[in-house]
Subunit: 694 residues, 2 copies
């Protein structure tokens, strides 16, 4: 039985910290933090199982603060747990402090960056999937999906901390040994459709260790939410989406403690949501349930008066968070090195490198790449999207951490080949790209290497989640098929023409646009072995294989496909347009015009040194050609290389409103086919001979 009085004392301490740090910073969201204080205090100190000394321990429960603006609450809770000092709290929102305005992984207990609302539940789905379902289910104890009571003798008993000399709260026992994922959401963010994408998938995959908490404080930033305190409607919605719903007075500690006890089991095979009816600004009469105080700190002169309202606060109170239920079982549920032998391939075991029981990637990038069986023959016509699927299936077969996720387009993106070869490593995400991106982030945070694919055009749907995955230091590989007008008859809605602009603008991203099957396969391996946010662009039509299987392809690399001493300019292309460039080369050669042709398969980073050398050897003339809109693609990357003003760059890209038609017709219409290139090159070279132009 939890010590309710003590939890209430802890909540007062947490409220004190919230007020202290936001009043000091004169910035932040105290009212949104105070409404969720009681609920989260009970969770942290009566139910959570988390090893503060090892935040990455796979046996830990996870807490995602989807309502990231409640960051004062986050830091206050960890301060009450003794993980950060009161002095540190005073650095809140200051330049250089890890206690940022919205949590980021610079604060080591933040699982991901939050603050763009409605994304946390997707991350939670990803983390819960990593533990209980699909790809890792083979590792799970039989009990994971049942309500069978397990031996709980190995429960790590929470220790008391010396500071303050207070006894710690004892965590409520569990009837199972599976880590739980808790996601705190605000009620305003429930309006985001991505929440319902996550909700529908969580129930579809029966994620019974996922618990959402909705802080229903009624008030949004500027006005009341659509539903106010109408908990019945929230309940009906979550129930209709397949969740088990619990309602609670979010300021009644005993009731809160009871409800967290109820959601802690695995019965029912349903995800659970706690609807907490709360008061925004709870504890501060000036603020309670009042509009107009969102994101506003207490005036400094009010601080003393408000503290009196809070009641006695024991600033020395510290309570340890209970440790994981069983540090062995959960690690067996994740992909630790010991589990590799399950796959029956002794070669793999020998390649494994581990540090502190955490698996590193198997082999070096080049080893992985060379282990791809590439049976493509030069000149054979293979779509790059197909080569992607064939490579990923092989990689997934070699490394169980590699997953394929797809938004109901697996038979177009060819991620279906993973589903065929290693079905446990394929997760169908249905048509909900925002959630797909968020789930991928959650999976990556649990040690997986998710490749997520859909049409390039539809990644625009998840741009917010993609940028947040970069801020979350995620390890996600985005793949966009059907790029450009070369898809043909389906028309503009299906054409990825902004995708390079999108992914280039993502912080720290790597962007690939390969032109043939071999380079696509090799770059898929590069993405698998590299850390961080990668984007691989593939195309719909079959194009000739132009590389032999022993060629290497690197981040920041390129290939010179045609060159001579007589080259008059350098033609830089990527993707399907490389083949137009090669055709243009032949036609120009027939006319005695020599040009250099470069395949710039790495768009970001771009191969600066090769491009500079080529330009200097070809009279400082460069033409770029790509199946992407004029702004933000290959051409702009090349322009940046030559910003020093010594090279003339002519960009060829999609500039007219695209429409349906055959791929060749559309490449011609947009002026990016071989004919347009030949015409353009001839025009440029003719101009040069004209002294008036030069």
């Amino acid at each position: 039985m939890a010590d309710i009085k003590k939890l209430e004392a802890l909540a007062r301490l947490v409220r004190y910290y919230i007020l202290l740090m936001t009043t000091e910073a004169q910035s932040g969201h105290p009212t949104s933090s105070l409404s969720a204080t009681d609920v989260m205090t009970d969770l942290f100190f009566s139910h959570l199982r988390f090893d503060l000394k090892d935040p990455k321990n796979p046996a830990n429960d996870r807490v995602i603060f989807s309502k990231g603006h409640a960051s004062p609450l986050v830091y206050a809770l960890y301060a009450a747990a003794g993980a950060i000092s009161e002095k540190q709290l005073l650095t809140y929102r200051q330049f250089g402090s890890v206690l940022e305005g919205h949590p980021t992984p610079r604060f080591k207990y933040a699982e991901v960056s939050t603050g763009s609302l409605g994304q946390g539940l997707s991350v939670g789905v990803g983390m819960a999937l990593a533990i209980t379902r699909g790809p890792v289910s083979r590792f799970l104890p039989a009990s994971a999906h049942s309500s069978k009571k397990l031996d709980t003798k190995s429960d790590s008993k929470p220790e008391e901390l010396r500071a303050g000399g207070n006894p710690s709260t004892t965590a409520t026992p569990r009837d199972h040994d599976l880590p739980f994922i808790y996601v705190l959401m605000g009620d305003s963010e429930i309006a985001e459709g991505s929440v319902w994408e996550a909700a529908e998938l969580a129930s579809f995959y029966k994620l019974s260790n996922l618990v959402a908490i909705v802080d229903v404080n009624r008030l949004g930033q500027s006005s009341e939410t659509m539903l106010g305190w109408n908990l019945d409607v929230y309940k009906a919605r979550f129930e209709a989406f397949g969740w088990k719903v619990y309602e609670v007075d979010g300021h009644d500690m005993a009731a809160i403690d009871k409800v967290f006890g109820m959601v802690g089991g695995l019965d029912g095979g349903k995800p659970k949501v706690i609807l907490a009816k709360t008061i925004k600004g709870k504890g501060v009469s000036l603020w309670e349930d009042k509009d107009g105080w969102h994101g506003k700190p207490l005036p400094k002169e009010e601080f003393g008066r408000v503290l009196k309202e809070l009641g006695a606060v024991d600033q020395s109170l510290r309570v340890q968070i209970a440790g994981p239920v069983n540090s062995f079982l959960p690690s067996s549920a994740l992909l630790t090195p010991q589990n590799y032998s399950n796959f029956g391939d002794p070669v793999r075991e020998s390649q494994i490198k581990t540090i502190n029981n955490k698996p590193l990637f198997v082999g070096s990038p080049s080893r992985i790449a060379t282990r791809l069986a590439l049976n493509y023959k030069l000149g054979e016509e293979v779509a790059t999207r197909k080569a992607y699927g064939e490579a990923l299936a092989q990689l997934a077969d070699q490394d169980p951490r590699i997953l394929a996720l797809d938004g109901e387009t697996s038979n177009s993106t060819y991620s279906e080949l993973v589903r065929g070869l290693t079905p446990n490593q394929y997760i169908e995400m249905f048509i909900a790209e925002q959630n797909m991106a968020g789930v991928a982030l959650g999976l990556s945070k649990q040690g997986f290497v998710p490749f997520v694919s859909t049409f390039a055009a539809f990644w625009t749907r998840a741009f917010d989640q993609i940028r947040m995955s970069a801020y979350s230091q995620g390890n996600v590989k985005y793949v966009g098929s059907h790029a450009g007008v070369s898809i043909g008859e389906d028309g503009p809605s299906q054409m990825g023409l902004e995708d390079l602009a999108l992914f280039k603008s993502v912080f720290g991203s790597v962007v690939f646009c390969p032109s043939d099957a071999v380079s696509t396969a090799k770059l898929t391996a590069q993405a698998a072995t590299g850390e961080g946010i990668y984007y691989l662009r593939t195309a719909r039509p079959a194009t000739p294989v132009i590389y032999s299987p022993d060629e290497n392809f690197e981040v920041g690399g390129s290939k010179i496909l045609r060159q001579s001493k007589d080259d008059k300019l350098t033609l830089v292309a990527c993707g399907v347009v490389v083949h137009e460039a090669l055709k243009a080369y032949e036609k120009l050669l027939e006319n005695g015009v020599h040009i250099r042709v470069v395949d710039a398969y790495s768009i970001k980073p771009i191969d600066e040194s090769t491009l500079r050398r080529c330009a200097s050897e070809t009279e400082n003339l460069v033409v770029t050609a790509e199946d992407h809109y004029f702004d933000g693609g290959l051409g702009d990357s090349v322009l940046n290389v030559f910003a020093d003003g010594k090279v003339r760059v002519v960009k060829m890209a999609v500039t007219k409103m695209p429409m349906s038609g055959k791929p060749a017709q559309l490449l011609n219409y947009e002026g990016i086919d071989s004919e347009a290139i030949v015409k353009n090159v001839k025009g440029i070279l003719k101009d040069l001979k004209n002294p008036l132009v030069k």
Copy 2:
């Protein structure tokens, strides 16, 4: 009573056309079209009120084919209505044909472009809002929100077409005179969160003239949907979201006709959804309820056999769609010139220009602009976001077509000033940016000029809807506040650092990034009066007013802020960084270094001629500085101007992982403040003096 036999004959004709055009094209989605054929045939020929001769008639009902891949069904229906010929159908998906793979407004009966799934319902919400609620409610007859039976004497009786000599179907009478909005969705797309964003808002605003139809054919592109034929779950979800739900066998014409009759009233004040249980590929035994046929045409050799299955098809059958119930009332519900006098300002009436009863914008751009009361004093500190709100409130007060929509951030973006001055012209959209963008498109298609605002960062959430609004020839003005690291303490999740890249990549867009209150106000007026997709970027911090109220600001313009004959380089900046540039100018001047300073407030199109002239007058040296990531922003626009290789461009932009801190600290950290500019300029000029470098 509808003639069911005749409707069934029409459905056979529609199926025939679907097969004809996709078999001829050997491309397209016949199976997804066939499942919805019976439902849509009944809607078109027994319930719809639409004037084929005047598709833009405001009294028309509207049909949005959200499942855009069912384009063969779209064209087949209009062919059966006599609007397009059988010969035209054979151009389906061919280059140049208006019958594109997914419908676009190149086909004059397509309200918007569809094909990126889950967006149509938002457009429908916008169109229904335009007619029944909020801003236009003052124009509505009292009956619009009641179930009172109106005089239906003025019903336009459908006429028979001569072709084929068949009698036309008589449209079911209505008990009101309000245009209805019908949205056909596939079951797969219901997984998109944007559908639920639209659903929650539709019930919140009680859009009783909105009818969604879900074609529940069980099969997605690659596999079964999450819910299959489990209509009970769909029902529970829509009911929980506040909709009235009707279920029907989607191939029982009598039942379908009955259900459309039931949804046609305004009782209940709820939006309505028809869940049609259907069979994918219905009518073709080879395809019926079979996986693996999504998006695949019939092999040509199968055509004859399959036609026999269909039964007798009367190729000469043509039935006219019934005309609008009352062509006067609905036009009074829209913003026709006659209604301007309601606003009590005779000046406005005199400015109105109309063609065929359709309102044009009031006055010329410059007239609107000069009618802004700009009381800003030079040097006064005003945030551009605030100037935006102040300008928009004035513009909205002058023209009732101007609306402000906001995603629960109106007190940050300052769109709250519209809510304050003309509350009928403000629509709260809550935290659901995708739906907000879709609704804005729908409103713009009904003649409104919606300004939609949220934090610049959160427009990434709606990128897919934004690009589709361009393909839909929408007239939407997107506004993003809190751009850049200059927002300060809130941290990276709230910083718009990819927004210029996003909006520049949108087809045909105009992108503004003003630096002070005057330019922001004037550019807001430019966006209001210009046609198409505009983006206006505003900033959080207050910055000095640098322009007098009589300055003009144009699409594609810029301002030279500092210049002399001795300028050594041109510094091009936008937004808050303009003020850093001006400070840098002063510091450099103190050191005897003259530079030119340009405010490039129009990022797309960029002011090529001014920039070229400045560069040529400043030794072909240009520095760009912006509060945006390195890729896709102002710097890249400037690089494109100087692609001819005669000018050296040095870009300064955000390149380090942003974090919390004070605005000045962050500008400094990222190297885009005046100090960094001074250092950079001095370094460049020093290099130039070094003969080894030059």
